[in-house]
């Protein structure tokens, strides 16, 4: 595909959790919990006055229409602030300082005074009904492949509660995640190819990790991608967790928009139109063999004139226009839809399809969509689907979509209008003073890695890993004394292998690595013994003495050698210094990996020498 001709414009918004001691607006730890550990749950509703929505804000209007009950799980690591039962504390300084560091690394300008805002979000993910967010910096850039990509804004905000479960009209959220500090970084729409999008996201991730103060692991960083092509529309794709599929996401969205434009042209050619009426078709399926339709309380249909064949048309790999309609139905709590382009199937017979067509007076070129469930939901969902179908004649709707694992996307909600924000009066503004501005900027991981390659001759990819703040300090502490490649082995290669073998490597901390490396440095174990030590440490946190005693055999090395000399006196007498080689083999058999071979050799040589002198 020629992205330049299509007028592709991509902007990336990264959300990264910060690894602070406390949450952004309370003193709770930033710790995730298992939902079984919840000590208590409560429920709430959120409401927004219609008068406040303005006329344009479709996103908010839909949320109100869906009006659900939100259930919140509370833990002994959450407090009344997360429960919206106590005013927030002042904004967490530690988080602000990390934000300033990142802003400086992205060449941004800082505001003089930070104002915390309430951004209205009434999907229940914030108990308050708003997300607290503050603009900290603006107008920066990062360089990728020699190109400057603009960084428009950096905000500090609170993480939302995690959705645990959704059943019918209820949504269950877990409060452990709510309030963890986030930085939100938005690039300008300067990216013009899928590959560049991925590179920019990777570079941003590297910069964030260079601070050593961001959370790591699944779900701690999410990218939203804004994509548009000429004649298409701006589409926001939310929650890309795996940066490696970012290029595919961009590519697939371009394909989707191109296909939607093709559908538009074909519909216009056919003079297609969407019938407003919602038909009750419960009668048609009175004796159906489809289990889903049989137990439905309500069964309704809409007619899309001239849409036949297009509802079933693939617009992204494995996804049809009909899938887009089904996504909408799902947001109203329905299982999905059926459409005539895919019927008869799913237990629905040819006769039923024909009768359905008769019931809504559909002609050959028309498509019919049916939805089932409780009446209010079905009606609302079909209303929304007709609205969407009508837009097929206009083009690509602006909307927010969710990233799927395969790189395709599903409809989530209309694109929100201008953010509905007002000041968080419970949190005082913060002057960003000289002291805060002068916070140190850490060395970039890639710069440090370059240094490691030059200084220690490490391979580039290994150097990148050792340069990560998780390892860099301890790596540099031991790189000289035990050797860079041994340090890298202990810190990364052996643990990766152990992980594959099923050891709980996540339990290994910096102190465990320091212990292992110092045993090697002090010659108390051989470098080959590191694996054994790490294995022990994944299971038990033992001190140096205990580890050594575990490693040493029943008798120590000196005893063993003395006994061996005694036993092999004849051999020594016969072969003199040449007895060393076979004897060394015997000692090594016993002590390999536990004592440095050099030390064994030295001791053995001395013992043989003494024996020879004696005789």
């Amino acid at each position: 595909m020629n992205y330049a001709d299509l007028g592709l414009r991509v902007g990336i918004e990264i959300h990264q959790q910060l690894d602070t001691r406390h949450k952004l607006f309370c003193r709770c730890p930033t710790e995730l919990r298992e939902t079984e550990d919840a000590s208590f749950e409560f429920f709430r509703y959120l409401r927004l006055k219609r008068s406040e929505l303005g006329t344009e804000d479709r996103a908010a209007r839909e949320e109100v229409m869906r009006s659900r009950k939100f259930i919140y799980k509370f833990y002994d690591t959450t407090c009344l602030v997360e429960a919206d039962e106590e005013p927030p504390t002042e904004i967490n300084r530690e988080a602000l300082l990390i934000g300033i560091q990142i802003a400086k690394m992205l060449n941004m300008e800082l505001v003089d005074e930070l104002h915390v805002m309430r951004k209205i979000v009434i999907d229940g993910s914030n108990t308050t009904g708003f997300q607290r967010t503050a603009l900290l910096a603006f107008d920066g850039y990062l360089e990728v492949d020699g190109r400057k990509i603009g960084v428009a804004t950096l905000c500090i905000e609170e993480e939302a509660a995690k959705k645990v479960e959704e059943r019918g009209g209820e949504v269950v959220y877990s409060l452990d995640r709510l309030g963890i500090p986030l930085v939100e970084i938005g690039t300008g729409p300067d990216i013009d190819s899928p590959e560049l999008a991925k590179k920019v996201a990777k570079k941003l991730g590297m910069i964030l990790r260079s601070t050593g103060k961001v959370k790591r692991g699944l779900g701690t960083i999410r990218q939203d991608v804004n994509i548009s092509i000429e004649h298409g529309a701006r589409v926001e794709i939310k929650g890309v967790q795996d940066v490696d599929i970012l290029d595919r996401i961009v590519e697939y969205e371009v394909i989707r928009q191109v296909n939607l434009l093709k559908i538009r042209d074909e519909l216009r050619r056919r003079n297609a139109k969407v019938c407003e009426e919602i038909f009750d078709v419960k009668e048609v399926f009175a004796n159906t063999r489809s289990k889903i339709l049989k137990r439905a309380k309500a069964l309704m249909a809409v007619k899309l004139e001239g849409f036949s064949g297009l509802v079933g048309m693939e617009i992204q790999p494995g996804r049809r226009l009909g899938t887009e309609f089904a996504d909408i139905a799902k947001t109203f709590g329905l299982g999905g839809i059926f459409h005539t382009d895919e019927l008869p199937a799913y237990g629905i017979s040819q006769e039923e399809v024909e009768e359905l067509r008769r019931a809504v007076s559909a002609k050959d070129g028309d498509a019919v969509i049916i939805a089932s469930g409780d009446e209010r939901r079905v009606r609302n969902a079909l209303l929304r689907i007709t609205e969407r179908a009508k837009f097929c004649l206009v083009g690509v709707p602006e909307e927010t979509r969710r990233a799927n694992e395969d790189g395709t996307t599903s409809y989530l909600r209309p694109l929100p209008g201008a953010a509905r924000m007002y000041p968080e009066t419970d949190v005082p503004p913060v002057r960003i003073d000289e002291e805060m501005r002068s916070v140190d900027v850490p060395e970039l991981i890639e710069d440090r890695a370059k240094r490691y390659v030059e200084q220690f001759g490490l391979a580039e990819d290994l150097a990148m890993i050792m340069a990560d703040p998780r390892y860099s300090e301890i790596f540099e502490e031991f790189a000289e004394s035990v050797g860079a490649s041994i340090a890298a082995r202990v810190l990364h290669i052996i643990p990766s292998q152990l992980r594959k073998d099923g050891y709980n490597v996540d339990g290994l901390g910096i102190e465990d690595f320091r212990l292992t490396l110092s045993l090697i440095r002090d010659g108390k174990i051989a470098k080959e013994g590191a694996e054994e030590v790490l294995k022990i440490l994944t299971e038990e946190k033992l001190g140096e003495e205990e580890i050594l005693s575990r490693l040493s055999p029943s008798q120590d090395l000196d005893d063993f050698i003395a006994r061996l000399i005694e036993e092999k006196r004849d051999l020594i007498a016969e072969r003199r210094e040449h007895a060393f080689k076979p004897l060394m083999g015997l000692v090594m058999k016993e002590f390999r990996g536990k004592v440095d071979g050099k030390i064994i050799a030295e001791k053995l040589r001395n013992a043989i020498k003494k024996e020879l002198e004696k005789s």
Binding site: F42, F43, R44, Y45, L46, R47, L48, K49, R50, S51, E52, L53, G54, T55, L80, A83, D84, E85, E86, P87, E109, L110, V111, D112, E113, L114, H115, M117, R118, K119, I120, I122, T127, T128, G129, F130, T133, A134, L135, F138, D139, T153, C155, A418, A419, R420, M421, Y422, P423, P429, R431
Partner: protein, 405 residues
């Protein structure tokens, strides 16, 4: 509404936005992204006045067949509106505005609204209670089926007590507030208000407080106005009935479950006793506090004293002489800082000395309720009669037997 737009230069770039009020020396702009930012070092390039228009809310029509409720506001925000273009929050108070904020109300009753005060509840004072009592009395006389008083939560239980003593009401007089302001989507205002509307039409004939029963948006308690207290600084369920169970539970769908003995609708004729003696002091005793505090008030002309004593109702024995002196021509009522339980000054010597000195036990009354009752007694009765009435249950403020609730 007028607003000012400005274009400024700061940090080497141009910003445009609505200028928000701020201290001298800095500018705070609301940018088109919605964010506010503050700059100390800036240069104004352009400024203009603009008109910001609110989106007019739709007002649900009143239904003639529904009962009528009078809503009197004393301040706090039951209804409010946020203007996202400027970030301003304004509190609203016409009946239409309340109903457009909480459309469910239009299904329950016809509302007439009146803004009596617009004050913070900590600025309440006895003269305001008197005017409020008169307005509620008039509303009852006008034939409303129920009256709702919206009130800041901090001193709501004082106001509810004041009305309970000043007013004999045949219909529900419901006090309601919100612990989360109504500009927040999570506000408790709507549910409290809906439950209050149901309560105001119910089979009740006394002053009540209706607020969230738990942290969930589940149901509200109907508390007796003279048996309730704000017991938490911030939680939605801050109001608790003390020494008497809540009168009932009310759900947003209109279901009511009565749980305490109540005065029912129509039992009492409307009557107004709108005098209060303002010179009554509520004194909380703590170890080491000198009785001079009583003299201080006495010399200022105070003749009503409510002591918030320790435990069963004690102050230091050092106080006995002072108490005896002032009790000669004053009303001295003992309550307990334990809040839960009954005052009994016959168990320990100190208590017995205090009784002899002229202290009257406040039974199981809350200190705040005893304060209001003393104001009301001194405002309406001679001292001797007032003394006799302290231990008399007049409006549900005293229960002679204590349950395990």
């Amino acid at each position: 509404m007028k607003a000012k737009r400005a274009k400024i230069k700061a940090k080497g770039r141009i910003f445009e936005g609505i200028v928000l009020p701020s201290e001298k020396g800095k500018i705070v702009l609301k940018l088109s992204s919605g964010y506010n930012v503050g700059f100390y070092d800036y240069e104004i390039i352009e400024e203009e006045e603009i008109e910001v228009s609110f989106v007019e809310p739709g007002y649900p029509a009143k239904r003639d067949s529904l009962p009528e409720v009078k809503v009197i506001s004393t301040g706090g925000t039951i209804a409010s509106r946020v203007d996202y273009s400027t970030g301003a929050v304004t509190s609203q108070f016409s009946a239409e505005e309340i109903v457009s904020d909480i459309p469910e109300l239009a299904e329950i009753c016809r509302i007439d609204a009146e803004l009596l005060y617009n004050i913070l509840s900590e600025n309440m004072k006895p003269e305001y209670w008197i005017r409020l009592a008169r307005r509620v009395y008039e509303a009852i006389k006008d034939g409303y089926d129920g009256v709702i008083v919206t009130h800041g939560t901090d001193t709501m239980h004082y106001s509810a007590s004041a009305l309970a003593f000043m007013l004999r009401t045949p219909v529900p007089v419901v006090f309601v507030g919100a612990q989360r302001s109504s500009d927040r989507p999570s506000s408790d205002a709507a549910i409290n208000m809906i439950c209050s509307a149901h309560t105001s039409l119910s089979d009740l004939g006394e002053v009540a407080v209706v607020m969230h029963a738990s942290t969930s948006d589940d149901f509200c308690y109907i508390h007796r106005g003279v048996k309730v207290r704000k017991n938490h600084t911030s939680r939605r369920d801050a109001f608790q009935s003390i020494n008497y169970p809540p009168l009932g539970r009310v759900w947003p769908d209109g279901k009511i479950e009565w749980t305490g003995e109540r005065i029912r609708r129509g039992v009492r004729e409307p009557e107004l006793f709108d005098r209060l003696e303002e010179k009554v002091a509520l004194v909380k005793f703590y170890p080491g506090l000198s009785p001079d505090i009583l003299d201080f008030f006495y010399e200022k002309g105070f003749r009503g004293f409510v002591l918030e004593g320790t435990g069963l109702g004690h102050v230091s024995t050092d106080w006995v002489e002072t108490v005896r002196r002032i009790a000669e021509d004053s009303l001295v009522v003992m309550t307990s800082q334990c809040l839960w339980g009954r005052v009994c000054d016959r168990v320990y010597d100190t208590g017995r000395y205090l009784l002899k000195a002229g202290v009257i036990e406040g039974e199981d009354m809350l200190p705040e309720v005893a304060l209001i009752k003393t104001m009301w007694l001194l405002g309406n009765f001679e001292l001797e009669e007032a003394k006799n009435l302290v231990k008399e249950n007049l409006v549900g403020e005293i229960n002679y037997r204590t349950d395990f609730n």
